[in-house]
Amino acid sequence: MPSVKLPKKSTFVDMTPFVDVAFLILTFFIMATKFKPPEPIEVTTPNSVSTTELPESNAVLITIDKEGKVYFTILSEKDKSVFDEVINAVNSSRNLGLTDAEKVTYRKTYIVGVAFSQLKQLLDLPVDQQKNLKQPGIPVDSTGGELTYWVQAAKSAFAGQQLKYLIKGDNNSKYPVFKDVIEGLKKNDVYKYNLITSPEDAPAGTELYKQRHKAG
């Protein structure tokens, strides 16, 4: 019986297209990536349908973490001198007696979450060790607390420029803290805020949904 000789097929698969796609995706991600900025405090923001872009500079960021601690950050990409102005203003209005070295450290301090009484202690630490210090949060109360002075300092430092007030609250933080923060801002005649949220789609069937899909 003649044996039927099956041709031996190679198991080698041509991977070239596969590699092409893989590297295309890789290139896309390298291009599109924007590294997450260092976040010493973990905050999960709520979702909203808002589409307004967030300002990255000329802004004051007030963070509320899940335990209700309040932190204060100045966002200024280009002009680093505002940091000096803020710390000087706070220093003189609250008689903190900060040294020049401590003021220089403030430039690089990403976030402040201590009472004025502990600010010296925070600024005495080198920048890379500051995140190890457990910050108790800026004291706030129904009259605004110490946050009022920070906002006041920032407001005067940014005088003549547009300044945005960002509030980044955690999902689980309680409303009273948020109210106190608002109070601290209101004391400085600031009535417009930007709440930082994660984007989400407008729910189907609602007015906003119809509006957006009519336009888009």
């Binding site: 590297f23 599109a32 909203s48 949220t197």
Partner: protein, 203 residues
């Protein structure tokens, strides 16, 4: 002709004297490259922030004691929403009855219908007057801009409400195109009713 080589006889295409070079495969094993490629993809997928955070605008009124500066809300068009513990939402229309009879409980998925219903009620009972033409002109002829002008939502988060609830309800205002809303402190009377309701429902 004499053959120099005896080898290579299998293929008879070769001419005489042509030494057959060993054919090397041009194929390269790409598996390690693919491995590396996907490793990098995974890395970039994890480190990337695809959706940048957005800003939700919030305007608060200036605190004033001057009665004349205060915006008065018409009772017929007011809907008060209170936020309680465990994502609970309470609401009443107009003014809170002394016995709390118009005080109702719902949740975040139910409040949207209430807002829409209330808005439709306000639009239905709208009385046309001269001011409407002005409002229409300001809003580029949007008929509803005048029809629902009496519709005001008052948001009152209580001590137990979370920040997420607050943002969610503000978001609900955007979703339902509510133009007039205000965030106000909860009154002690309302807080009492909320707490009593929470106690009754065993929360």
């Amino acid at each position: 002709m004499a053959q120099i080589e005896g080898g290579g006889d299998d293929s008879h295409k070769k001419g005489p004297g042509v030494k057959k070079a060993k054919k090397l495969s041009t194929r390269v094993d790409m598996t390690p490259m693919v491995d590396l490629g996907f490793l990098l993809i995974t890395f970039f997928i994890f480190t990337t922030t695809m959706s940048s955070p957005k800003a939700l605008n919030l305007n608060m009124p200036k605190d004033t004691k001057n009665e004349e500066e205060l915006n008065k809300a018409k009772e017929s068009g007011a809907l008060t929403i209170m936020l309680g513990k465990n994502n609970a939402v309470y609401y009443y229309e107009g003014q809170l009855a002394p016995d709390g009879s118009n005080f109702k409980a719902t949740n975040f998925s139910g409040i949207r219908d209430e807002i829409i219903n209330k808005r439709n009620d306000v639009i239905k009972s709208h009385v046309h007057d001269a001011n409407c033409a002005k409002i229409w002109a300001e809003n580029k002829g949007d008929k509803n801009s005048c029809l629902d002008r009496d519709f005001v939502v008052v948001i009152k988060p209580d001590q137990d409400a979370t920040y997420k609830n607050t943002v969610d309800i503000l978001d609900e205002m955007t979703i339902n195109n509510v133009k007039r809303y205000a965030m106000v402190d909860i009154t002690p009377q309302e807080y009492e009713v909320v707490q009593a309701t929470e106690k009754n429902s065993g929360k």
